[in-house]
């Protein structure tokens, strides 16, 4: 009995001390009270130095929280109970947020730096006239391959992945839209296809790919490709860029049949408490020097045309990550196909996953 009492008293004492220490720490760090901006972003999707710089210039204290998928973020914001001032969803998620009235319109008069954004990235289908969102980064989905492991064979199209020579060599990203889109594209269909026959054809097509697929993975795909666990990976361009700098054997290609182009934009969720601060932050991120520094750190393609000019020529002239217009014309944005279609895509993808070798 004495032992039990001792244990519990010690625990509550320690907890009390920790709580007190936390309270002090939060106060000295400025996290409690005062002028605070809550940012909800992907993990490691901003240069941390820029947060410091913004805090210094504006006097606003930034609380940075991260999510790992659009859907998780949506769930959190839908339910309320949080006070995020800034969030960075992708295109289709923005369409959904607008549809469900989860974002507030952006006051462009407070964003003089908006002029630095390339027109190509404004007024897109998911947010006409950019009423609710401002471009942050963009990129494509494509193929990363390892010259050494493939004996000099170079895939250039989605179709090439079905080559029997690539047995057990392919890592796929764990996304229904990505994998189904790949199959649809390889058959010459749009990746926003909703026709049932074509979808079934795409699924059957995927089943044929099974012998070549080593695994269907998440973010660890970068680690696996950099470590030469497999010769081919279907990845987002930003991830490709990152691992190519780690392993020189790797190369990235946008498949010739066309592929997906995606955008991550900044929005102000309707739960925002510090709307002025949010605008100030967006305007700060739009500054060419800041955008360039951020692109340098994150490694994704920046939509900021004046910021782009400040980047290393080697980077900004890299056609794999800043493709020409004739390539971008073959690319498609994921449209919001509606809940039913999305569920159907996921069912088909699930059947593919369950298909044993």
């Amino acid at each position: 009995m004495k032992k039990l009492i001792q244990l519990f008293v010690t625990i509550f004492l320690i907890s009390g001390v920790i709580l007190f220490a936390l309270n002090r720490l939060n106060a000295t760090q400025g996290y409690s009270g005062g002028n605070v901006l809550n940012i909800y972003n992907w993990g490691d999707y901003i240069d941390p130095d820029l947060i410091d710089q913004f805090e210094e210039e504006s006097g606003i204290k930034v609380v940075y929280q991260t999510f790992d998928s659009n859907e998780a973020m949506l769930t959190k914001i839908e339910q309320g109970g949080t006070t995020y001032d800034i969030a960075v969803p992708s295109d289709y998620a923005i369409a959904k947020m607008i549809e469900e009235d989860l974002v507030i319109p952006i006051d462009k008069s407070k964003l003089p730096n908006l002029k630095h954004i390339d027109d190509r990235f404004l007024d897109l289908s998911f947010d006409p006239d950019n009423q609710y969102s401002i471009p942050y980064f963009w990129g494509t989905v494509g193929i990363v391959y390892n010259q050494k492991l493939l004996d000099g064979k170079k895939p250039t199209s989605w179709k090439d992945l079905w080559d029997p020579a690539f047995k057990n060599q392919i890592l796929l990203a764990d996304g229904a839209r990505e994998v189904m889109g790949m199959s649809l594209n390889s058959l010459g269909y749009s990746l926003n296809e909703t026709d049932e026959d074509k979808l079934q054809e795409a699924k059957a097509n995927l089943m044929d790919l099974t012998p070549n697929v080593k695994a269907i993975v998440g973010d660890e795909i970068k680690l696996l490709l950099a470590n030469e666990e497999a010769g081919i990976g279907v990845v987002w361009s930003g991830d490709a860029n990152e691992i190519m700098s780690e392993n020189e054997e790797l190369n990235y290609v946008i498949p010739s049949e066309g592929s997906n182009v995606w955008f991550d934009n900044i929005v102000i969720p309707k739960t925002a408490k510090n709307v002025d601060g949010a605008h100030e932050f967006i305007n700060f991120m739009l500054r060419p020097d800041i955008a360039a520094k951020n692109a340098d750190y994150v490694g994704y393609s920046t939509p900021n045309k004046d910021g782009l000019k400040l980047l290393d020529p080697e980077v900004r002239e890299d056609k794999r990550f800043y493709p020409d217009k004739d390539v971008t014309d073959t690319l498609e944005v994921y449209e919001n196909l509606g809940k039913k279609m999305l569920a159907h895509y996921n069912e088909l993808f699930l059947e593919f996953k369950m298909h044993k070798k």
Partner: protein, 266 residues
């Protein structure tokens, strides 16, 4: 003698496997390159970074305080629950209580997380420290019950009756007979609850907000960019700290037990 050696070999094998990934993590925390595959050269840099990062310190303390408090509170609730279940005479009520009890163990974290999220927002509880603490207590209680119950069942009811006959009050029976008897179960429950809390990602992820983060949520979101060796360094520090704590606690306890020569066990 030969059998004894074989037994030791087996245990050594089990421990090697249990600790292999941890040593692997610790090894690469001294890697000057920021990855877990190619060891470049030896460095202390990651450890320096860990100790300079005040945000990380806050997160670690958050995790710790949630784990300790939730484990302690859920142990108390769970022990009373187990005693209560044991006292139930009707088999049907007992089974249904146990089934309800186990639902949180079987439910995937995502469901627990999502339903708690809906539940908390319905009640109007702000997401943050309170909501995380409540959910950790909630999913730790059943595990305590499951670990304490066998101890209670094994306790002969004559023991309680005898104490009663000798004129012990209800409180006395609880503190002098029942609790000492089930102490090992309580400890097992407490440590398992601690484990569940420290390890939990999915539930915390759903019910946290407003700047409150725990370590596993932070690690999960960092994984997008590949895990930094700073996290390895941090884990190594935490591991060493708990390791020393466990050993220190054990030997201190040993000495006091030796002194009192186990008064609880007749």
């Amino acid at each position: 003698m030969k059998r004894f050696k074989l037994a030791n070999l087996y245990l050594i094998g089990v421990f090697i496997v249990l600790y292999a990934p941890i040593f692997y993590l610790a090894f690469y925390s001294f890697n000057s390159a920021d990855n877990m595959t190619n060891f470049d050269s030896f460095t202390w840099d990651w450890y320096k970074e860990v100790f300079q990062d005040s945000r990380l310190l806050i997160i670690v303390l958050n995790t710790l305080v949630i784990a300790l408090l939730s484990a302690a509170i859920s142990t108390i609730v769970g022990v009373f629950g187990a005693i209560g279940i044991q006292a139930v005479r009707k088999k049907r009520i007992e089974t249904s209580l146990l089934t309800l009890n186990s639902i949180l163990i079987v439910s995937p974290d995502v469901i627990i997380g999502a339903s708690f999220l809906i539940f908390f927002t319905m009640l109007g509880i702000q997401l943050g420290f309170t909501s995380v603490l409540l959910s950790h207590i909630a999913f730790s209680v059943p595990i305590v019950v499951i670990l304490v119950l066998p101890k209670l069942q094994e306790m002969s009811p004559t023991l309680v009756d005898a104490a009663r006959d000798l004129g012990a009050s209800r409180l006395d029976v609880l503190t002098k007979v029942i609790l000492p008897y089930i102490t090992p179960g309580i400890f097992a429950g407490f440590f398992t609850a601690l484990t569940y809390s420290l390890d939990d990602f999915a539930v915390t992820f759903f019910v946290t907000g407003n700047g409150f983060t725990t370590l596993s949520v932070e690690i999960y979101s960092l994984a997008r960019q590949g895990i930094s060796m700073k996290i390895n360094a941090l884990s190594t520090v935490i591991f060493l700290f708990t390791f020393l704590l466990v050993i220190g606690y054990y030997f201190l306890n040993q000495r006091s037990v030796a002194k009192l020569s186990r008064p609880e066990v007749k």
